[in-house]
Each structure stands twice: as structure tokens, then as C-alpha cells.
């Protein structure tokens, strides 16, 4: 059994659910107004920025988990 890889998949799943929660809680209600025609553009731009930051954090955490798994495999 490739237990560390199953753990990695499970960790990714948890990260997806947590990331989804953050998206819905923080990104969903976000709305800027008062800039006229630029409102949709500003709203989308800010959402893209936050989404990119979340993806960056997601990948960073995954890299840490990957390194941990590799160390575990190397040690056994």
C-alpha cells in the first residue's frame, strides 16, 4: 500500500474543501460600488487577486506536504 500517497490525496481533498470555504466566505460577499462602469472590472480584479493568493497558499502547503512525504519515504 502506498499509504503516504493516499495521505497526500486526502490532504489535497481537505485543502480543496477548506479553500472552497474561504472562497465562499471571503470572495462571495465581496462587492465594490461607486466606480460606475468600472464596478464589475474592479470586483473581478479583486476577486482574481484574492483567488491567486489562495492558490499560492494552496500550492505552498502542498509543497510542504510533498516534502514531508518524501522524507517519510526516504526514512523507511
Amino acid at each position: 500500500m502506498s499509504l503516504p500517497i493516499f495521505s497526500f490525496i486526502f490532504a489535497m481533498w481537505i485543502l480543496i474543501i477548506v479553500g472552497g470555504a474561504l472562497m465562499v466566505i471571503f470572495l462571495g460577499p465581496l462587492s465594490f460600488s461607486g466606480y460606475g462602469d468600472f464596478d464589475p472590472l474592479i470586483n473581478s480584479g479583486v476577486k482574481v487577486l484574492i483567488a491567486m493568493i489562495l492558490i499560492f497558499i494552496w500550492i505552498f502547503v502542498l509543497l510542504k506536504i510533498k516534502n514531508w512525504i518524501f522524507r517519510k519515504i526516504a526514512n523507511t
Binding site: 502506498s2 493516499f6 480543496i16 466566505i25 470572495l27 483567488a51 512525504i69
Partner: protein, 329 residues
């Protein structure tokens, strides 16, 4: 629901038997024209017909066209067109080796039918917490989804039977998820993909008689990606193919650039009894296969089984996620 059953059965039967019946002809035609490649993981260096994408695309397209006759909805048309364009991109890559950026860029254009037909919902759904409306961001997601899915399935096509077997498991899981979410039409589209890949697996499984090639693997991936978008199950679809995503993630995090897979060093080598072992080459990329054989060498068939176990595990997680979609905090 009842009116869907007969068209669904007809489409599924066409998907399965057209691939099942056509693939031997494709194999013979390729062998006759000497369009074969060496199976690198066989001691005898067997020549295997490649690419077998033609039978896959005929199976998927014919079944979806039949389904479209019964239900002329834009979602089915979008999957038909996107999958066909992706097949053409794969076929070009099979005939002429293109640069690492060719496929992602060309596949991004394949998403055009989904956008032009408006066969998507700009709400991105997540389990437990509901959905988030991201109209512009979602359009970018549609454009990225097809290249990512196409290349993800293509990158796992490294051993006998893996790409087709993996697609079969993932798409069956996604079909179940779509039925749980009561998206029956798209669920049937997904079942057509499942049965087409299952029929191809019969010839692709260890020892392979045919390889899908880029045209086949990208067709599988693009169809899967298009189904995920038109069905509004992008997150669930990503969960169902997590082992393949891990493979791409490990590869990209070790190579640190987008390259054509033929350009990189092989991350595996062979033992005396022709099992696969991890290479001692420092610059070879880290892949899922390399991770699986890190502890001890495994035969090609054993690695395939391990990957399928991972795919089943991800499929179960995807189904749990589908159930969680119905629960909102």
C-alpha cells in the same frame, strides 16, 4: 427521468461497441502502415500501434451525436465540439512533435464552443459552503480547464492501460456524482465517456495492443474537462482525478517549467527482472510512478494496479463531496 433511459442506453451501447469494434481495425491499419512505437517497458521491445485516438473519438462523438438528436441542448453540443477540436490538437501532436507550449495554447482555444454556446454557469460550487459567483474569473477557468485536464490525463499515459483505465474510473465516479446532483443529461454524457474508455482499455491494458497517443489521451482529458464545466462540477471533477493532478504537480514542481514530455529524462529505469525502479539520475523529474517505486521496484502491471487503487480512492472522495454539495452550513 424516464424519457432519458432509452436514449441513454442507446448512446452508451454505441459508445462502448463502436470503440470495441473499431479499435482492432485501427490497430491493423496502423500496423500495416508501420505506425508503431517501441513499448519501452517490455524486455522484448515489442512494437505497439500508436495512436489509437481515432476509435476513441468516433466512439465518443457518435454516442454524443445520438444523444444530441434526442436532447438538442447546448451542453451536449459544447462537449461534442470541444472534444473534437482537442482530438485534432492531439492528432497534430502525434504526427509532428510540437513544443511544450503548443498543446496548452491550442487546447485553450478548444474551450471556445463552451463559451460561445454559453454552456456554463459562472457560479463555482463548493461542498458544504455553497457557491460563489465569479463571472469573469470563471471564463478564465473555462479557458484553463481544457488544457489542464487534457495535459493531466496525457501526462499519466506512461504505462500500459493507465490512461484509459484511469479515465474509466474517474468518469464513472463523476457520472455517479452527476446523478447524485440530479444532473441527469450531463451524467449520461459522462457515462458515454466512461464506456468509450472502458472499451479502449480492453486493448490498452497490459500488455498493450495499442497506445492512445496524444490524440487519445487528450481526447479523454478534454471530454472530461468539458463535462466538468457544462455539468457545473469542476471541483468534484478535480477531486476524482487527484492522482493525475498529483502527477502533474510533482512533475512541474521538480522540472519548474512546461516542457514536452519527450524532452525530459526518464524518471525510471529497469531491474534485471525488468521491474521498474527509480533512476539514479539527479535531474530526472519526480512523478507519481517514481513515488510509487521509491520504496521497492514494481512490475508495470503492479504499478498500474496501484494507480487504479489511488483512482478508486479519489473517486470515493469525489462521491462523498457530491453528497456534501447538498448540505449547506
Amino acid at each position: 427521468m424516464e424519457q432519458l433511459i432509452i436514449p441513454a442506453i442507446i448512446a452508451i451501447v454505441v459508445a462502448f461497441f463502436s470503440v470495441y469494434g473499431l479499435t482492432p481495425f485501427v490497430i491493423r491499419a496502423l500496423e500495416k502502415r508501420n505506425i508503431t512505437v517501441v513499448d519501452a517497458n517490455k524486455k522484448e521491445k515489442t512494437m505497439v500501434a500508436r495512436p489509437g485516438g481515432l476509435s476513441i473519438i468516433i466512439g465518443i462523438e457518435s454516442s454524443l451525436i445520438i444523444l444530441y438528436v434526442f436532447f438538442p441542448i447546448s451542453e451536449i453540443l459544447a462537449v461534442i465540439l470541444t472534444t473534437f477540436f482537442a482530438f485534432i490538437v492531439g492528432l497534430i501532436d502525434d504526427r509532428k512533435t510540437m513544443g511544450g507550449w503548443f498543446k496548452p495554447l491550442a487546447l485553450a482555444f478548444c474551450a471556445a464552443p463552451i463559451l460561445l454556446l454559453g454552456a456554463y454557469d459562472s457560479n463555482l460550487s463548493f461542498p458544504l459552503f455553497g457557491s460563489v459567483s465569479i463571472p469573469l474569473l470563471y471564463m478564465a477557468l473555462v479557458v484553463f480547464m481544457i488544457p489542464i485536464m487534457g495535459n493531466t490525463i496525457n501526462s499519466i499515459d506512461v504505462l500500459n492501460g493507465v490512461a484509459s483505465g484511469f479515465t474509466t474510473i474517474a468518469s464513472f465516479a463523476l457520472s455517479i456524482c452527476l446523478f447524485i446532483l440530479q444532473n441527469y443529461e450531463v451524467g449520461i454524457i459522462c457515462l458515454c465517456l466512461s464506456f468509450a474508455s472502458l472499451a479502449f482499455y480492453k486493448y490498452h491494458k497490459f500488455p498493450s495492443k495499442v497506445f492512445p497517443g496524444d490524440s487519445g489521451a487528450i481526447t479523454f482529458g478534454a471530454a472530461y474537462g468539458a463535462i466538468a464545466i457544462v455539468g457545473g462540477v469542476e471541483v468534484i471533477a478535480a477531486i476524482a482525478i487527484l492522482p493525475a493532478i498529483i502527477n502533474s504537480f510533482l512533475f512541474l514542481s521538480s522540472v519548474k517549467k512546461i516542457v514536452e514530455h519527450r524532452e525530459i529524462k526518464n524518471p525510471t529505469s529497469h531491474t534485471d527482472d525488468w521491474k521498474l525502479k527509480t533512476t539514479s539520475e539527479n535531474h530526472a523529474p519526480i512523478t507519481l510512478v517514481r513515488l510509487l517505486i521509491a520504496k521497492k521496484p514494481l512490475s508495470e502491471k503492479q504499478i498500474g494496479i496501484e494507480i487504479f487503487k489511488l483512482a478508486i480512492f479519489s473517486g470515493i472522495l469525489a462521491i462523498i463531496t457530491a453528497f456534501m454539495m447538498g448540505v449547506n452550513f
